[in-house]
């Protein structure tokens, strides 16, 4: 069966999200009732899923690659399925966050709490579905790609994998800056715009952040492939 | 002299020979397959097959292609004749030697044999 990993992870993520949603909602209500709620709680809570995406990327290499290779798949076959899994898992995570903001907006509306954002985002209201989705899609893609790359480096080179961390951070920084949002700075986006105009003669468009993310994704996956294409399975359990 | 090489397949061959000699396995009767022997003795079927091959070479068993192994019709008589030939050198002579070493007079042995015969 194709996309066994994707299905298993979507299912598991759904369970984790449900538990997390209950927790966040309880805290929200707690803060709201004591009058200390001044902003969207999910704006804060949404900083955790990016780490979840990172570790999902790591697990692709640390657990699923050895599993697939040990069951007779080639690294190439796994590479293709793994990349597709990673690309399709990101919109699933983003959709969960869209739902979280939507549910939150209903709750805030009923309770009369101020549903405001304190930080800069691609969206200005938590209910701007396409923009909320895009921002978290970019985030999930970048963090899981960086996770896969760093996971591969640590699996193959053990301590030497430390050297992959700056590269992983750079991948994530590029994607965040492609959103054109503080605090990552419009600097990189501007740089990207220049690059795209000069090199590819592309018009400036709202799709620019996604385009930048595709670039990060391609670079990240190629770097990962360079590590795993002839990677041995470890002889000892990690 | 006893063959000390690979005791297991020798054991199997000896067991089958004993069954043939005592009539438990009769002429033209099918014997269990190598796989059944392998599973029973927990050994590789190739080892069991060696025991069978040895018995085929000795004329105790014959092979029917695709069906299995069967006891040769004259196997019992052949084995008995062979046993008669070696009985004294392999059984009686060592017994006498051991009796001598233990200080048992031959008369006692003969008396014992006669007792067994009578009972």
């Amino acid at each position: 069966m194709k996309f066994r990993i994707l299905l298993a992870n979507c299912l598991f993520a759904l369970l984790v999200w449900a538990a997390f949603w209950v927790l966040v909602t309880l805290i929200t209500v707690g803060l709201g009732l004591t009058g200390r709620l001044t902003q969207s709680a999910w704006e804060v809570a949404a900083q955790l899923p990016r780490w979840y995406a990172l570790f999902f990327g790591v697990s692709l290499i640390h657990e699923y690659l050895p599993l697939y290779v040990a069951h007779g798949r080639t690294r190439r076959q796994f590479g293709v399925e793994g990349a597709l899994t990673l690309i399709l898992f990101a919109p699933f995570l983003a959709a969960l966050l869209v739902i979280s903001y939507q549910l939150e907006s209903v709750l805030y509306g009923l309770a009369g709490w101020p549903h405001v954002l304190e930080r800069a985002h691609m969206f200005t209201e938590p209910t701007q579905v396409p923009l909320v989705f895009t921002e978290y899609l970019i985030e999930a893609l970048a963090w899981s790609t960086a996770g896969a790359f760093m996971g591969a480096a640590f699996y193959r080179f053990r301590g030497g994998g430390l050297l992959s961390i700056p590269v992983g951070v750079l991948l994530i920084a590029f994607a965040h800056s492609a959103m054109g949002v503080e605090p990552w700075g419009p600097f990189l986006l501007a740089w990207l715009r220049v690059l795209s105009r000069v090199v590819f003669d592309l018009p400036d468009s709202p799709l620019m952040p996604l385009l930048g993310t595709v670039g990060v994704l391609v670079v990240g996956l190629l770097l990962t492939w360079a590590i795993i294409r002839d990677m041995p399975l470890r002889n000892q359990a990690s | 002299m006893l063959d000390d090489r690979s005791p297991i397949y020798r054991q199997i061959a000896e067991r089958i020979k004993a069954d043939v000699m005592s009539g438990v396995l009769k002429g033209d009767e099918k014997v269990m397959s190598t796989n059944q022997y392998a599973a029973y003795y927990r050994i590789n079927p190739a080892t069991a097959a060696k025991a069978f091959q040895q018995l085929v070479d000795e004329g105790v068993l014959y092979k029917k292609r695709g069906i299995g192994m069967f006891v040769s019709p004259d196997a019992q008589e052949k084995l008995r004749a062979k046993r008669r030939e070696t009985f004294f050198t392999e059984v009686v002579d060592p017994m006498v030697a051991e009796a001598k070493a233990a200080g048992i007079p031959l008369r006692d042995i003969i008396r014992r044999i006669e007792e067994l015969e009578d009972s």
Binding site: M1, R4, A8, E63, Y64, P66, L67, Y68, V69, A70, H71, G72, R73, T74, R75, R76, Q77, D230, P232, L233, R234, N235, Q236, A237 | M1, D4, R5, S6, P7, I8, Y9, N35, A38, A39, Y41, R42, I43, N44, P45, A46, T47, K50
Partner: protein, 291 residues
């Protein structure tokens, strides 16, 4: 599956794990792979299963290269102590991945094995005991029915009755579904009955590869008065010797013809078999007693 290995070298950095292995294994037999710790057993099996790319040399299975060749690797299963095929969620989940990825998977057989080994498949594999995790590996390895099935010390942590179940199942499933099986082990006495051929590797090289019965026939213990034993074994390959007062027992390696056997009997020497484990210990002895 037929395995051909030529001048295989595998290095981990400065360490040479396999130092020129040349080996041909015919299809459809059960092989015992013996070697001391660090001799290169796991390395050899890992290369055969395409877990590792060889540093140099050639590996062909059914005439085809192995590394990154899906048509071949999909027919190969290697179960190692690391547990890469089972360390994924619960027992059920591990079996479901095997089912999805293994072309000849027999789910019913897997479940019956789980019952035999008393494995609770609802339990997370990582929370199972060492023995239970080993049993999970054995279940996956057997039920995959791969034409080339390899177990690398797959019994670790299993108690004696469970190991007996393992050996019985390997034999029964081999008889029902003949295939090429390679088992590496340190518990030689327990499994040697299953082997048709034995490969002994030592320090990354093949020390012996023979039919098990032939190999066993080469080992003989010669016991008797010390002087007579010494006279008889002069010029033979002596693997080891022990003395008890005037009596000496020497293990020799090499075929003894009937003339030699008669001579031994005439000199009042007792010839006896050497079991595979003793033979292995003598052959791989580090003190230079090995040939």
């Amino acid at each position: 599956m037929r395995i051909e290995v030529e001048d295989l070298v595998l290095r981990y950095g400065d360490v040479t794990a396999l130092d020129g292995i040349t080996l041909t294994l015919e299809e459809g037999k059960i092989y015992g792979l013996l070697g001391r710790n660090g001799s290169g057993k796991t390395s050899l099996l890992s290369v055969l299963a395409a877990f590792r790319k060889p540093t140099a040399g050639r590996v062909r299975i059914d005439g085809q290269p192995v590394f990154e060749n899906g048509r071949v690797t999909s027919r190969i299963s290697l179960i190692r102590d690391v547990g890469e095929t089972v360390n994924i969620g619960t027992g059920e989940e591990a079996l479901s991945y095997a089912e999805a990825l293994r072309p000849n998977w027999d789910g019913e057989y897997a479940r019956s094995l789980a019952e035999l080994f008393k494995i609770d498949l609802k339990k997370s594999v990582k929370n199972m005991s060492k023995g239970q995790r080993s049993a999970m590996g054995i279940i996956v390895g057997l039920a995959s029915r791969a034409p080339l099935t390899m177990f690398d010390e797959a019994y670790l942590g299993l108690d004696a009755p469970a190991r007996q179940v393992f050996y019985d199942q390997v034999l029964a499933d081999y008889l029902a579904h003949p295939r090429t099986i390679i088992m590496s082990t340190h518990l030689i006495d327990e499994v040697s009955g299953l082997f048709e051929e034995v490969v002994i590797i030592h320090k990354g090289r093949v020390l012996a590869h023979e039919e098990k019965d032939e190999l066993l026939a080469k080992g003989t213990s010669v016991t008797g008065p010390a002087a007579a034993v010494d006279a008889f074994t002069a010029g033979m390959t002596v693997l080891g010797s022990r003395s008890l007062g005037p009596t000496k027992s020497v293990t020799v390696y090499g075929e003894l013809d009937d003339a030699r056997r008669r001579k031994a009997a005439e000199s009042g020497l007792e010839l006896g078999p050497v079991d595979l484990q003793d033979l292995f210990i003598h052959l791989t002895a580090e003190d230079g007693a090995a040939r």
